[in-house]
Amino acid sequence: MVFKSKNKNKLEIEHKNNLNDSNMYQDDTVIECRNLNLWYEESQALMDINMKFKRNEVTAIIGPSGCGKSTLLRCLNRMNDVIEGCRIEGEVLFQGENLYSKNADIRLNRKKIGMIFQKPNPFPMSVYDNITYGPKIHKIIDDKILTEITEKNLRRAVLWDEVRDRLDESAMGLSGGQQQRLCIARALAVEPEILLMDEPTASLDPIATQKIEELILELKKQWTMIIVTHNMQQAARISDYTGFMYLGKLIEFGNTEQIFENPNNQLTENYITGRFG
């Protein structure tokens, strides 16, 4: 039984790699929103969003508070399903398939599209248990493999050296920045293809923020990332593409440089130059 699950996982990874390769040459788009509309009860939070996210690029989503950034991000791995009274129209295409179609496997898709939250939210368990939670959920039970996974992902998140001696200690004892990197490691442990991050540094101090930013630039080599941020310098520093949202609409979307230096839309310019509201 142990072997089976191991093999299955290997197969999955291979399968994924094939997909990666084949897609690489055809189209860079990994995930795409088409005419996406969303309502919470009666109030519309997203209006007709059309957006393409490119492979191995960092896309930043900026905009004033309450404009729907988090909502949009949560649509990309169907986290809005949990919210009552939330209704969605339109499509989100992930590797060409609609996430919201009837026969889409929500859980498999969530596994492939990882998410990091604004407040670091490690489970109140040991560091080891935090990292291995995801793999265990997806049927990896061999202790040796789990230990390998733990090390690998803690290294990916540049946390290994800091916690290698405290794997059995509660994750709640780590500092805020360490916790956030642990959450990133935890998300990476299920081998996602995309990482969604909702203001991943909003609750961290400047030094921890810098570490996370460095990490993001490092992770970019392997993963597609979509980051919501309030911090415009951050968006400018780490992203390749930037989308500006306002009142549930995507106002402007394009190259980060272009958006910041030469925005087409007056609203965007006002927001970026701080002349807003």
């Binding site: 969530r110 489970f123 109140p124 939670y133 959920i137 004892g173 299920v190």
Partner: protein, 711 residues
């Protein structure tokens, strides 16, 4: 003299005499509060002291080993071996928890995670009210319904068994366990769930692997409350388990007649002569019970601290650093619970009479030890310890009765079956399987409590109200006549008098003590001791308060059985709860309120009385009303101190006369050889209505208050 000038800002208070500020009322109030708080605390500690002062001399005549290890309990013959009673107590409690915890936890999961919000609200409210069902009502149900079912189902001579005792205790503990577990599950922040879903976990995986571990402290607390409730239950046990002071034979035979500490005291103390060694032996039992509850609380605190550390990430302080270097020592430390279990099991094997009991007792003990190792051995995949422990526990039963074999087969089949099946079916399939289990458990819990209510109501209503077709049962003057004329009015008035009296005594004392503790007491050793004393008394069985009431009011003050003695005993019983709820309600008011008041130049007491107390009032009132509900539903504390069996008058006006009470009246009815179920049901229904209305009022106040709360 001050005149407010509203139009000109320069002059706010014309008269610049601030001497009123110097009159230092604050200090006086602090002293008064401290004084009252001390009285409350002294009462609280007197209970412990009296218990030992009265019970202590018993051990000068009977040795501790004779008491703890002797196997014969016959006080009238000078046999004071309490071991069978202690063992029975543990067994009955254990059985109750084994049944109630899984059922309660599953029901809580259903309520918190699966039930639609509206259903959840209704059920939750009902469950909280049901926690107030007086234990005598459970005893009634157990005696008249459950025992008969068990007798007929298993073809026994009588239904007074360990099994029925455990079942009744389980049903009794269910509301508490469910509501505490549910609270703790709901308190698990949503971002844990989101993180889990975001990795592709199913709802069940999230519940089992994230929500339950995160809610573990609450679940442990529920377990402790459940154990406490089961250990301390008196009235239902007096009626249901048969009270044979012997070991079950063999030890796992759930069909044997048993006796628990509480029921032994409750049945035995009355007829003995005050001051005799027999009389004292019941206080010795009281001490034993008190220490047992103390141990449960202490162990629970250790576990809760451990869990707490997991949340804060604080490291365990390593003592004996030098010693730890020796490998053997660290191994011993690591496996200490298992070792203790091993030692106890050897002890058990020596003590118990027959061969089967020896083996089974030892095995069960080791099983328990293994199970509890999970709290000390945290590392990666040591969870299997629990599994082995539980299997051993049930294997204990195999060796004895067929119901044991039955249970064991079920458990092993469940464990192996689910493991085998789960490897073949998808995660979603597993989720469905577990949800079905959850639904089954919750419906079972609902059915169990529902049946009880239905029985009481269906039999009680025709007595109180004329229902077409059931006129035979109707008693027109049941609620309005004295007991000489076949009514229960004196019992109703008596219960109301006792309840009001107890709260009139406990509320002022408790409030002052609570305010003192939260606002004035410094965080030093004395305060800590006071707090832990109060906490422990909070979970002390009511029969212990009964013993205290007997000593203080009947012996020390030389009172007769009387209304006043009952009021005070009940008052003392609810005092710790009142202190605690007041303290918590006051503490819940944010410090900014006090600071706001102080910043305007108010005195501390002004801030407390004008700002803090009004804001905390709903919380305090809720606690008080719950306390009244508890007073109204208790039997044990008034059994020896306050009650009489019949009364010609509909109300007793002298507080030095004994009164009738609904609870005790019901008990009397049930112990008569040929009692009328209808009369008992009518009394039980009246009692139930009285208590549940109080509980209902308390929760309505609380929920209103929570809705209004702005901070």
């Amino acid at each position: 003299m001050s005149t407010e000038t509203t139009f000109e800002n320069e002059v706010f208070i014309e008269d610049e005499d601030y001497s009123y500020l110097k009159k230092d009322r604050d200090k006086l109030i602090k002293i008064i509060l401290f004084f009252i708080a001390s009285i409350a605390t002294i009462f609280v500690f007197l209970i412990i002291i009296f218990l030992f002062v009265i019970g202590g001399p018993f051990f000068t005549e009977v040795s501790l080993t004779e008491f703890l290890l002797g196997t014969n309990w016959l006080p009238s013959h000078g046999d004071f071996g309490a071991l069978p009673i202690i063992v029975d107590t543990l067994l009955v409690t254990f059985g109750a928890i084994i049944i109630a915890l899984p059922l309660g936890l599953m029901t809580a999961i259903f309520l918190a995670e699966l039930a639609p919000p509206k259903l959840r609200k209704v059920l939750k409210f009902t469950i909280e009210i049901l926690a107030g069902i007086p234990s005598i009502v459970f005893g009634f149900f157990g005696l008249v319904v459950l025992n008969i079912i068990i007798r007929d189902l298993f073809g026994l001579h009588h239904g007074n068994t360990w099994l029925s005792g455990s079942l009744i205790l389980a049903i009794m503990a269910l509301p508490t366990i469910v509501s505490v577990c549910e609270d703790s599950i709901r308190a698990v922040p949503d971002y844990y769930r989101e993180a889990s879903y975001a990795m592709g976990a199913t709802k069940w995986q999230t519940i089992r692997k994230v929500v339950i571990p995160a809610g573990m402290s609450g679940i442990t607390a529920a377990l402790v409350l459940g154990i406490g409730r089961a250990l301390g239950e008196t009235m239902a046990m007096m009626l249901v388990i048969g009270n044979c002071k012997v070991f079950p034979e063999p030890l796992t035979n759930m069909f044997s007649c048993v006796a628990v500490i509480t029921s032994t005291i409750g049945l035995g103390l009355g007829p003995t002569e005050t001051g005799s060694i027999e009389w004292r032996s019941y206080f010795a039992l009281g001490i034993t019970l008190f220490i047992m509850t103390l141990m449960v609380n202490t162990i629970a605190n250790v576990i809760l601290n451990r869990i707490q550390r997991k949340f804060t990430g604080e490291k365990v302080k390593e003592k004996h650093v030098n010693l730890k270097e020796s490998k053997i020592y660290s191994q011993v430390l690591k496996y200490r619970i298992l070792l203790i279990a091993l030692i106890i099991s050897v002890f058990i094997a020596i003590i118990l009479p027959d061969m089967i009991s020896k083996v089974v007792g030892a095995i069960i003990c080791i099983g328990l030890g293994l199970t509890f190792q999970m709290y000390t051995i945290v590392p990666k995949n040591q969870k299997k310890w629990i599994l082995y422990g539980v299997i051993l526990l049930f294997a204990g039963w195999v060796l004895s009765t067929w119901i044991g074999i039955f249970l064991t087969v079920i458990v092993i089949a469940l464990i192996i079956g689910t493991r085998l099946i789960f490897k073949r079916i998808s995660t979603v399939g597993q989720e469905k399987f577990w949800f079905i289990i959850v639904y089954l458990c919750s419906s079972f819990a609902v059915i169990a409590v529902g049946t009880l209510l239905y029985y009481i109501i269906a039999n009680g209503i025709p007595v109180l109200i004329r229902i077409p077709g059931m006129e035979d049962s109707y008693r027109p003057n049941f609620l309005t006549a004295s007991s000489m004329e076949g009514g229960i009015l004196p019992a109703i008035t008596g219960t109301i008098q006792l309840t009001l009296g107890s709260i009139a005594f406990a509320l002022p004392l408790g409030m002052c003590a609570g305010i003192y503790l939260s606002e004035y007491a410094r965080d030093n050793k004395v305060t800590k001791i006071i707090r832990s004393g109060i906490d422990n008394l909070n979970g002390t069985p009511s029969i212990v308060f009964a013993l205290f009431g007997v000593v203080l009011f009947l012996v020390v003050f030389g009172l007769q059985k009387s209304l006043i003695a009952g009021m005070l005993t009940l008052g003392l019983m609810i005092l710790p709860t009142i202190i605690r709820t007041t303290e918590e309600a006051v503490k819940a008011i944010p410090p900014s309120f006090r600071e706001g008041s102080l910043a305007l130049g108010s005195s501390k007491w002004q801030g407390i009385s004008k700002i803090v107390l009004p804001a905390a009032l709903p919380g305090i009132v809720t606690g008080a009303v719950l306390g009244m509900g508890r007073s109204a539903g208790e039997t044990a504390p008034i059994m020896f101190t306050a009650v009489r069996t019949t009364s010609r008058y509909i109300i007793t006006l002298s507080i030095f006369q004994p009164v009738m009470a609904l609870t005790y009246h019901l008990y009397r009815l049930l112990t008569e050889a040929l009692f009328s179920v209808e009369e008992a049901a009518g009394t039980a229904l009246t009692l139930l209505l009285l208590v549940l209305i109080l509980y209902g009022v308390a929760f309505v106040i609380r929920s209103r208050y929570e809705k209004r709360k702005q901070w």
